[in-house]
Symmetry: C2
Subunit: 218 residues, 2 copies
């Protein structure tokens, strides 16, 4: 009966589990992700994971934390002006989301209170204060910026503006009847770069312009 291998160390750790979970979700998506799939990926009993992470919800938190850490690590040095900081943060955030398109919905859904997130917000708001902007405008800015980022990335990374297109060929198909929506149909060609870098930069500048205008006391 001494067939068991129970106590033998499997080298599990919160870090290793989180890394494997990120990989697994990247490969197979959030839908099919689960404790048991992850355990079999790690060659381990499902229950072993519970010694390091309390449950599935905590597992998802660990995934969020792991990819968020990538974001703050991305920018080696930060600009001094608040707009530069905001731009750098937004781009690093988008780069991460593109690296992990199936994880980014998690970030948008779950409240962000981790240390890395708070550090980033502290950096941005401190720079805005240095620039002499009104406190209320500063307090509002992060929610406007990250609200937009989350919503925009959610929209562009999972689906497209009506219809399926082939990511390989990049050929978009309208997939809606153009007759009742003449303006949308006319505008469709301009949405060719949906989710692309140029589009992102345009929209980011649009949002930053709004924040800047309010910062200027408009």
């Amino acid at each position: 009966m001494a067939k068991r291998t129970q106590g033998k160390p499997a080298g599990l750790s919160r870090r290793r589990i989180a890394a494997a979970a990120v990989d697994l979700v990247d490969r197979e998506g959030l839908e099919s992700f689960g404790v048991r799939r992850l355990a079999s990926e790690l060659g381990v009993d499902p229950m072993s994971i519970y010694n390091h992470i309390k449950g599935k919800a905590a597992l998802l938190d660990a995934i969020s934390e792991a990819v968020l850490t990538e974001v703050s690590a991305a920018a080696a040095q930060w600009p001094d002006d608040w707009m530069g900081i905001a731009r750098t943060m937004a781009r690093a955030y988008r780069d991460m989301a593109i690296r992990h398109p199936r994880i980014s919905p998690l970030l948008a859904t779950r409240a962000q209170t981790s240390a890395v997130a708070l550090e980033a917000l502290e950096r941005l708001t401190a720079a805005m204060r240095r620039a002499g902007i009104a406190d209320q405008a500063i307090a509002d800015a992060p929610l406007v910026l990250f609200g937009f980022l989350n919503g925009y990335l959610l929209a562009t990374l999972s689906g497209n503006p009506g219809g399926t297109d082939d990511p390989a060929t990049g050929v978009a198909q309208p997939a809606f009847d153009p007759a009742p929506y003449p303006t949308l149909a006319a505008l469709a060609p301009l949405q060719a770069g949906f989710g692309g870098e140029d589009e992102f930069e345009r929209m980011l500048e649009t949002v930053l312009a709004g924040i800047a205008q309010r910062a200027a006391g408009a």
Copy 2:
């Protein structure tokens, strides 16, 4: 053996199922929602639902569609100017999200290609064209606006900016160590109305200002 009641009509329909699903998610949340729960709510066998809606994914689509219809029905009459239309749409969208806070994550996550959604976008973009705005700015506007709306509502409706507060008393608790984040700590009082109407109006105007500035050819 003639105890079965199988063929007896239960009065199911796509509409009735969707309405019950909306009610159920409103009451008990998305986490616990499922085909079986919904079926027992309707006093019906789980598989009966499949005669009207193909599966769980289609069920979630039906929920989205149902609440989206509320949005377009909300505005009795629309302004003529594009900013007025955008404001009206944004407010109706927020009202719906507040009525169904546990459903709104669904809208942000799933691509919106339903007729009601397209109609709304057609109305907005047509008004912008009438105002003589450059096509690229028009084409970008909906994604900026609804990106922000989805991200903002996601953030405000499920959780708050770091820490739990009691919705009854409305007393917010920072719940993060203020020492490493002096600016955030100083700004915390200004986030008292987190998720409130005043805050929403300020941020909506911020985003609209950005769109307007680009519309003006900046």
